[in-house]
């Protein structure tokens, strides 16, 4: 079996991740910070240590500004629905996932003004177009760090400097880049970073987070949910301080411990080494697919400009048929269709049919991608 669906969720997970998840349930199985006995404190320690590691990993100073969520979608919703008011103006790229577009389209129905900046058909973004779209009253700019459809990396640092000039805040959707591209929130100047634990960060599904830069005033953001935090229980009102303001209810301890093990595993290997490996695999896929007659490779066609995601279509075959054959006859697992990102597919010209998406990961080998290319060639030629 060749697993090429790491953009949906990475698999397999490092053994350390599974071990950490079992370990925390076995030895630190209390409710973190609620009860005060030894198992509760050990659980709180597991959560807090992860907070510190994430703060270090994305480079912010204050670990209480790492908010645990169930995934990137949840983190994005905290910002969009907590910060934006009717009449506010928001700029987004045309390559966004529905995790961004659906909450924004709903807010638009309620009076938000949405400016969608068109990207080129390879998924790339011209920062001048962001500058043109930005108005003096633009509250927020939302862009993905890399597209889940074409893999194309967007120029986050440049967008930040443009957004700064008008005072707009920047939310980056790092679902496809956390753990595979270096992200330094201070150096980039990112205000909000939404990440998920179960893709490049090597953790399990069901855990993600929102990292809020040290300088951002959080009093302007309403929490999505309110409830028990284990703190200030005498009050029936939600506390204002972090992370409790945005973290109600018992967190996913096993997921958080697994995420920490994933991040430490990445730091041990080195993110540059992981990136190098994935670039090679991406290059092999792009070259191999480009040689197959009738195949159109989407995206920038250059591993330097993309994460390890290669989408393609074929003239003669439906993507669903290709995906099914690859799975059934060759054991090559891909994802076909629209990838929850109709806007991105419209931008690259593959809507409504969609694409076959190949997403190798850190455990994919050079032989795996060669075999996958030859399987695709056979499926297309059949």
């Amino acid at each position: 079996m060749i697993y090429l669906d790491n953009a949906a969720t990475s698999w397999p997970k490092p053994p350390e991740v599974l071990k950490a998840m079992v370990g925390v349930l076995e030895y630190a199985g209390g409710n973190p910070g609620r009860s005060g006995h030894r198992l509760s404190i050990e659980a709180a320690r597991a959560v807090y240590d992860t907070r510190e590691d994430i703060a270090r990993f994305f480079n912010i100073s204050d670990p209480t500004r790492v908010i645990f969520t169930s995934n990137a979608t949840h983190a994005i919703n905290i910002v969009l629905r907590g910060l934006l008011k009717p009449g506010d103006r928001v700029v987004v790229s045309s390559m966004e996932h529905n995790a961004v577009m659906r909450p924004l389209r709903r807010l638009e129905e309620q009076g938000l003004i949405l400016d969608v900046v068109s990207c080129a058909s390879d998924g790339s973004l011209d920062v001048n177009d962001i500058a043109t779209a930005l108005k003096l009253d633009t509250r927020l700019v939302v862009i993905n760090h890399a597209s889940n459809v074409a893999g194309t990396i967007l120029p986050v640092a440049e967008v930040v400097s443009i957004a700064r000039s008008t005072g707009a805040l920047l939310l980056v959707d790092a679902a496809q880049t956390g753990g595979v591209l270096p992200i330094d929130m201070k150096a980039f100047g990112i205000d909000f970073l939404a990440f998920t634990g179960h893709k490049g960060l090597q953790g399990p599904p069901g855990v993600g987070g929102l990292v809020i830069a040290d300088h951002v005033d959080v009093s302007q953001i309403e929490p999505l949910m309110r409830g028990g935090t284990g703190s200030q229980s005498e009050l029936e009102e939600q506390p204002e301080y972090l992370p409790d303001k945005f973290e109600s209810g018992t967190p996913n301890i096993a997921g958080i411990a697994g995420l920490r093990a994933g991040i430490n595993w990445i730091m041990d290997r080195g993110i540059e080494a992981i990136r190098m490996h994935e670039k090679k695999l991406t290059g092999t896929l792009i070259e191999g697919l480009s040689d197959i007659p009738g195949v159109r490779v989407c995206g920038a066609g250059d591993p330097e400009k993309a994460v390890a995601i290669v989408s393609f279509t074929a003239i003669e075959k439906r993507v669903s048929e290709i995906g099914l054959k690859l799975d059934e006859d060759y054991g090559v697992l891909t994802r076909v269709g629209l990838h929850c990102a109709p806007a991105a597919h419209k931008t690259i010209g593959t809507f409504p049919e969609g694409t076959v998406r190949l997403a190798p990961g850190v455990f994919t080998t050079a032989d795996d991608v060669k075999e996958a290319v030859s399987a695709i060639e056979k499926v297309i030629g059949s």
């Binding site: 609620r34 229980s233 972090l242």
Partner: protein, 73 residues
């Protein structure tokens, strides 16, 4: 018999951070349930040796750990 003091925090995260840095600096500290006489809170507090009250406070201050209050047990 050791005389203890407790530090109360607004959030568990601060308690964890305080414990980590004080333990590293060699202080004998322990996280305990918040004593009911000081708060109705259901969270955790940091217990320390009352003789080190000044030093503990100054360490927390230096590291900018936000605290709610300090009490003698």
């Amino acid at each position: 018999m050791t005389e203890y003091g407790v530090v109360l925090f607004y959030t568990t995260s601060s308690a964890m951070r305080a414990e980590k840095l004080l333990a590293k600096a060699g202080y004998a500290v322990k996280l305990i349930p918040v004593p009911r006489q000081f708060s109705s809170d259901c969270g955790i507090a940091l217990r320390f040796d009352w003789h080190q009250n000044e030093q503990v406070r100054s360490e927390l201050d230096k590291a900018q750990v936000e605290i709610d209050s300090v009490h003698r047990l």
